[in-house]
Point group: C2
Chain length 408, copies 2
């Protein structure tokens, strides 16, 4: 194990039967796996889940980086769900599982005979989790959704973009990963509750609905003004300058820094005025007063930019952040991978996969000082013999028979 990481083992002994695919469901089960659950993906024997071929990976024609990044620390078995014996296998596993999760198109899991009613009757302790695009009862209940659809219809895009510009999709995949995190919370809460009740529950989340929680700050503005939050504005009212993203040396696409000057703390302006070489303005009432500074926003922002353009984003972050004024360099993936402390602290780790390495972030919470260790994503069916033996008591011969019969 990487000495900077830990096996948190919080969920040792918890068995998760994972029929999910792409990102929202797999994110949920990846967290559970990183926290110590035994997560078993059930995949189509012909190619596995579709995420395995989304883009390229370290080895041509084999598992994509996409799959590797969303399926670390899991196991994989195969089962042909078009065969009744394949479906029966999943039921046998569900009888032994603690958690079941799926994110198929609406109605599909029920048509397969693996709906809540069936599995709950089979195993009343089973926690049954479903992720869909839109909620049951929504006018869009039967519509498909991908990340960007949930981000549009869930309120994220309307509040993202430049002032006066068109709506912009947030880069982080909140529609998928954001939703998966909320389902992980819910599964863990019911797992805890089950210690007392002995019973599983049915959990359902819609990707659209999940976005409302992440953007609930925009409901504050609506309550205050009766109007939707204006794009490009957070907080209440126009930002008191300098409070924006400023250009840095040498002018590349990600050479920018965010500087946050609190409108409640005049010390911020005093420090910034000295840093940018305008100490005479630190206590000048025409600049120290926040309303007066706001009235000359363009002038103040240009002063700030004239200074930031002479420094790299890292210099600006060090100088301004070090002076106690919040500042954040716009770091891109290359910057994050180049910043050594992420690896030293175990936040970025190398997934050692048989097809090749992948440097990626782990679940970032530290347990007694260290974040969870990343283990490789599974090859298709890599754990079929192990899991069917362990969960169902099958022999290697039994598994070979299922294979030759086309069931797995």
């Amino acid at each position: 194990m990487d000495s900077n990481a830990v096996a948190p083992n919080c969920l040792s002994g918890v068995r998760v039967l994972d029929l999910s695919q792409f990102e929202a469901g797999p994110t949920c089960t990846e967290v559970l796996a990183q926290l110590g659950a035994e997560v078993v993906k059930v995949e189509n024997p012909r190619g596995g889940e579709p995420g395995r071929i989304l883009g390229t990976g370290p080895k041509p024609g084999d598992d994509a980086y996409y799959f590797m990044i969303y399926n670390a620390n899991k196991k994989s078995v195969t089962a042909n769900l078009k065969s009744p014996r394949g479906v029966a296998l999943v039921k046998d596993m569900a009888a032994k599982a603690d958690v079941f999760i799926e994110n198929m198109a609406p109605g599909t899991i029920e048509k397969l005979g693996l709906g809540w009613d069936v599995l709950h009757a089979l195993n009343p302790r089973l926690i049954y989790a479903q992720v869909k695009g839109f909620g049951t009862g929504s006018p869009y209940e039967h519509n498909l959704a991908f990340d960007m659809i949930a981000q549009a219809a869930g309120g994220n895009m309307a509040i993202t973009g430049e002032v006066g510009g068109r709506p912009v999709r947030p880069g982080p995949t909140l529609g998928d990963t954001g939703t998966g995190m909320l389902m992980a919370i819910s599964i863990l809460a019911v797992l805890y509750q089950r210690n007392t009740t002995g019973k599983g529950r049915r959990l359902q989340v819609a990707m659209q609905d999940a976005q409302l929680n992440y953007t609930r700050g925009s409901f504050i503005n609506y309550a205050r003004t009766g109007e939707p939050q204006e794009r490009g504005r957070a907080g209440f009212g126009p930002p008191v300058p300098p409070n924006d993203i400023f250009p840095c040396k040498p002018g590349g696409p990600n050479d920018w820094v965010y500087v946050f000057n609190s409108h409640n703390n005049p010390e911020h302006w005093r420090r910034l005025a000295k840093i940018i070489g305008r100490p005479e303005l630190a206590d000048d009432p025409d600049y120290l007063d926040r309303d007066k500074r706001l009235a000359r926003a363009d002038e103040v922002n240009e002063m700030m930019a004239a200074w930031t353009r002479q420094h790299t984003k890292h210099e600006v972050m060090n100088i301004i952040g070090g002076a106690g004024v919040p500042a954040g360099a716009v770091m891109d993936t290359g910057d994050l991978l180049a910043e050594k402390s992420f690896e030293e602290r175990g936040i970025i780790q190398t997934q050692k996969h048989p097809n090749g390495d992948l440097r990626m972030p782990t679940f970032p919470v530290r347990f007694d000082g260290k974040p969870p260790e990343i283990k490789p994503s599974p090859l298709l069916g890599e754990h079929t013999t192990e899991v069917f033996g362990d969960w169902l008591g099958m022999s290697e011969g039994d598994v070979a028979g299922l294979k030759s019969d086309g069931v797995i």
Copy 2:
């Protein structure tokens, strides 16, 4: 209780001692409260946590909507942490708590004498959770962070914006709420583990580190190309048109719709061509072939826009989504509040606060069909007598004495 909501009671009996403020920590404990934990905020008797006065609320000079939205379902007690007896009170409560959480500036909680070492020695079962801007060992360890700083330095802004434009801050407060959700997951996992071990653990998360997990999709692109993901592009390579955000009638700032045409499914184009009144192009090889369509992206996108401009975003979402092609209207807060199914399904509820109502989203996962009920955020010190009596066995007279001594 709202008949569309439920008290999930997953965490009945779990006591959370909450010294957090603003959004990241409070989001974590709001989820725990909505799932049934008893969350007790410990606040400064003079005004309470600073979020109480961030902007206005339903009653002039009293709790802000900001506070109401991030502190639903919690209790509040007061304790003056500048008084040794106030700190001793918090220790007494920590001895009776299951979870302790704080998100003060680096080093502050330790200076108060409430660090991990102290509270762990006092109550080995206590789960001790800390949220900071940057991680211990990061070059920015001592820097302050707000949401936008974490979103800049954690990789979110670099991948958000228009192609060729400057970086844009995602509107959803991933830096705060996103981080809080990951801490909630971790607390729940350790709560489960504690059933076996009987021991608490120390949990720490940095807002910057948390962003890396939400943006880990950008590490896929880096692994593939060795370059940071280009702004305004998700997926791998240029999007096959029509795959963008399109303008709708009547042309207001949020009258836009996202249409996602899968590059792997030629049916999407066939259906879209018919919908936009160009059925002759459905099987025309110059348009059906995705590479040829990509070569004439501007023409195809303008065809699509010419049609969307004649319809409202809701019409477009209904027509295109109904035809099995993913489409999402850009919904703003006003649209979300006007869409009745959110209230019918309990996803948006009315917080009935003594100062006035607030319509807001709840935690959106449904437990046996219904999401958690929203209860009001607490008035400052509203539960002091109740909680000190219940947790510490104090009489009303004891509490009155603490109050007259300025301890609470």
